[in-house]
C-alpha cells in the first residue's frame, strides 16, 4: 500500500494590515436658520483668530484584511494651541494619557505632575505637550476616530 504523501506548498498569505490615519481641523459656526433659531455646526477651520476653539479629528481606517491591535495614536499639540482639558475623546474604547515632556513619558491626567518640591503641581492645560490614545483593536475594513479640542493662543 502506497501512502500518498501529499506535500503541498503552504502559501502563507501575509496580507498586511493597512491602517491609515488622517487628521482634520474644525471650528464652530453659528448661523440663524429659516425659523430664526441659532444653529451651531462644526465646519472646516478657516477663520481662526486668537481665542478660536479648534476640534482636531484623527480618523483611522483599517483597509487591510487583518485585525490590527494595540493601536497607539500620538498627537503633539501644535505650538500656539492650548489643549482644552478633558476634551480628548475616542469613538471606540480607548485609554487616554498625556505628556508634559514632549512625548517622552505619558500619564493619565489625574497622575500628570509638573515641577519638583513645593513647585510640584498637577499639570495645567498650558503645560500639556502631547495626547496619546490607545485602542485595543481595529477590525479589518473598520474605521474609528479620536479627537481633541484646543484653543488658539
Amino acid at each position: 500500500m502506497k501512502k500518498l504523501i501529499m506535500t503541498s506548498a503552504l502559501f502563507l498569505t501575509m496580507a498586511q494590515a493597512n491602517v491609515s490615519i488622517n487628521t482634520a481641523s474644525f471650528q464652530e459656526q453659528t448661523t440663524v436658520n429659516a425659523s430664526g433659531e441659532q444653529v451651531v455646526e462644526w465646519v472646516k477651520a478657516s477663520k481662526v483668530i486668537p481665542g478660536t476653539i479648534i476640534r482636531y479629528v484623527n480618523s483611522l481606517e483599517n483597509s487591510g484584511s487583518q485585525l490590527a491591535t494595540k493601536l497607539v495614536v500620538n498627537n503633539p499639540i501644535p505650538k500656539n494651541m492650548e489643549y482644552i482639558l478633558n476634551s480628548a475623546t475616542c469613538q471606540s474604547a480607548c485609554n487616554i494619557s498625556y505628556s508634559v515632556d514632549d512625548g517622552k513619558t505619558f500619564k493619565e491626567a489625574s497622575n500628570l505632575f509638573v515641577g519638583v518640591g513645593k513647585a510640584r503641581h498637577l499639570a495645567k492645560a498650558s503645560e500639556y505637550t502631547n495626547i496619546k490614545w490607545i485602542l485595543n483593536s481595529l477590525e479589518a475594513t473598520a474605521q474609528s476616530a479620536v479627537a481633541y479640542k484646543a484653543r488658539l493662543k
Binding site: A17, S46, V48, I49, L60, Q66, L71, P76, K79, K153
Partner: protein, 348 residues
C-alpha cells in the same frame, strides 16, 4: 552639529510672538499625529498622518478711551488750540499684528446722554474740529489720514474745537474720537470676512472690537469710539437800572421829594452775575442827559436799593465822570453775587 541645529530650531519656534493680543496673523498652525499598531503581535511600521494646516487670521481689535477725568472747562470764544484746552484720548491697537486706522472727531447730538451719569449734551461744538497728535496741534489736523499701529501700540490724541461766543454757562458739548480700521497703508475702510466663504490658506479679517460711545458704533463693525466733553463755565450778567429822588430841597418829607430843578436824583445800576464764573474787569459806561449834573458815585457789594443803599462800599471800585459820560468800574463780580453802582446827580 545636529544638536546645535535642533537647539536653534527650538529657539526660532519660541520667538513666534504670542503676546496679549494672541498669535500673530499669517502664522501657520499645523497638526499631525503618528499611529503605531501590531498585526499578529508583530509591530508594524509607524504611520504618520497628513499635516493639517490653517493660517492665523487678522483679529482686528481697537480700543479708544478718554483720559479726561472731568469735562474740560472753557469760556465762550476761546481758541482751544492756542489756549491749550484739548480733549484727550488714547487709541490702543489690540489686534494680533500691525493695523492701520483713520481717526475722526464727531459732535454728539444735542439732547443725547454724555459720558457722565445724569448729564445731557446741550450744545454742538462742531466748528473746526481737529484731531492732533500733540497738545499744541503742531502737526496739524490728522483727521482721516492713515496712521499705522504696531501690535499692542497705544498712542495719545487730542481734539480741539472752536467754542462759539453764544455758548451759555453750563452748556455741555460732547465730542467723540473714532478710530476706524483701514487696509494697510491706505485710507480705504477695511471690510471683514466674518460671513464670507472659507479661505484656509489666506489671511482673513475678523473684526473683534466692542461697541463704542459714539452714535452708530456697534460691536464688530471695525471701529471704536469714546466720548469726552467741553463744559462752558462763564459769567451770566444782567443789568437793571433804577432811579429815585433823594431830596428836592423843598419838600420836607424826603420820601415825597419830586424831580424839579435842584433835586438830587440817584441812579442805580444793578449788576447780577448768575453764572458759574467770576466776571473780571466789568465796566459800565452810561451817558447822563444834558439836564443832569454828576455829583458822585460809589459801588456797593449788594443788590441795589435806590432809596436806602445796601451793603458796603467797595473801595477799589470807582465811578467817574468825564463830562456827561459816566464810567463805573465794577472790577471783579463774583459768581452768584450782585453789585450796585449808585450814581448821584442833580437836576439842573
Amino acid at each position: 552639529m545636529n544638536k546645535l541645529l535642533s537647539m536653534v530650531a527650538i529657539m526660532a519656534l519660541s520667538t513666534m510672538a504670542v503676546n496679549a493680543a494672541g498669535t500673530d496673523y499669517n502664522v501657520d498652525i499645523t497638526n499631525s499625529a503618528t499611529l503605531s499598531f501590531e498585526v499578529g503581535s508583530v509591530a508594524q511600521d509607524t504611520v504618520t498622518s497628513n499635516e493639517d494646516t490653517f493660517k492665523v487670521d487678522r483679529k482686528v481689535d481697537v480700543v479708544v478711551a478718554t483720559s479726561d477725568t472731568a469735562n474740560i472747562v472753557v469760556v465762550p470764544k476761546i481758541n482751544t488750540t492756542s489756549d491749550t484746552k484739548p480733549l484727550t484720548f488714547t487709541v490702543t491697537n489690540e489686534s494680533n499684528g500691525r493695523q492701520d486706522y483713520i481717526l475722526s472727531a464727531s459732535n454728539l447730538a444735542t439732547g443725547a446722554a454724555t459720558k457722565d451719569a445724569g448729564e445731557t449734551d446741550s450744545v454742538d461744538f462742531a466748528t473746526d474740529l481737529k484731531v492732533c497728535d500733540d497738545d499744541t496741534c503742531s502737526n496739524g489736523d490728522l483727521s482721516n489720514t492713515n496712521i499705522q499701529f504696531s501690535e499692542g501700540e497705544s498712542k495719545t490724541y487730542y481734539i480741539f474745537a472752536d467754542i462759539p461766543s453764544n455758548a451759555s454757562d453750563e452748556d455741555r458739548g460732547s465730542i467723540a474720537l473714532t478710530a476706524t480700521a483701514v487696509d494697510d497703508d491706505s485710507t480705504t475702510v477695511m471690510t471683514d470676512d466674518r460671513d464670507t466663504a472659507d479661505n484656509k490658506t489666506a489671511v482673513d479679517i475678523v473684526f473683534a472690537e466692542a461697541a463704542g460711545d459714539a452714535a452708530n458704533d456697534a460691536q464688530y463693525d471695525g471701529k471704536h469710539s469714546a466720548l469726552s466733553a467741553y463744559e462752558v463755565v462763564t459769567a451770566t450778567i444782567a443789568l437793571v437800572k433804577d432811579s429815585c429822588v433823594v431830596e428836592d430841597g423843598i419838600t420836607s418829607d424826603d420820601s415825597k421829594a419830586k424831580r424839579i430843578p435842584g433835586s438830587t436824583v440817584r441812579y442805580t445800576v444793578d449788576i447780577d452775575n448768575s453764572g458759574s464764573a467770576d466776571t473780571e474787569s466789568a465796566t459800565l459806561t452810561d451817558t447822563l442827559q444834558d439836564d443832569l449834573t454828576f455829583v458822585s458815585g460809589e459801588i456797593r457789594d449788594e443788590a441795589c436799593n435806590c432809596g436806602t443803599p445796601a451793603g458796603s462800599v467797595i473801595a477799589d471800585d470807582t465811578v467817574t465822570a468825564n463830562g456827561q459820560d459816566i464810567t463805573a468800574n465794577f472790577g471783579t463780580v463774583t459768581a452768584g453775587t450782585h453789585e450796585c453802582a449808585y450814581i448821584t446827580t442833580t437836576i439842573n
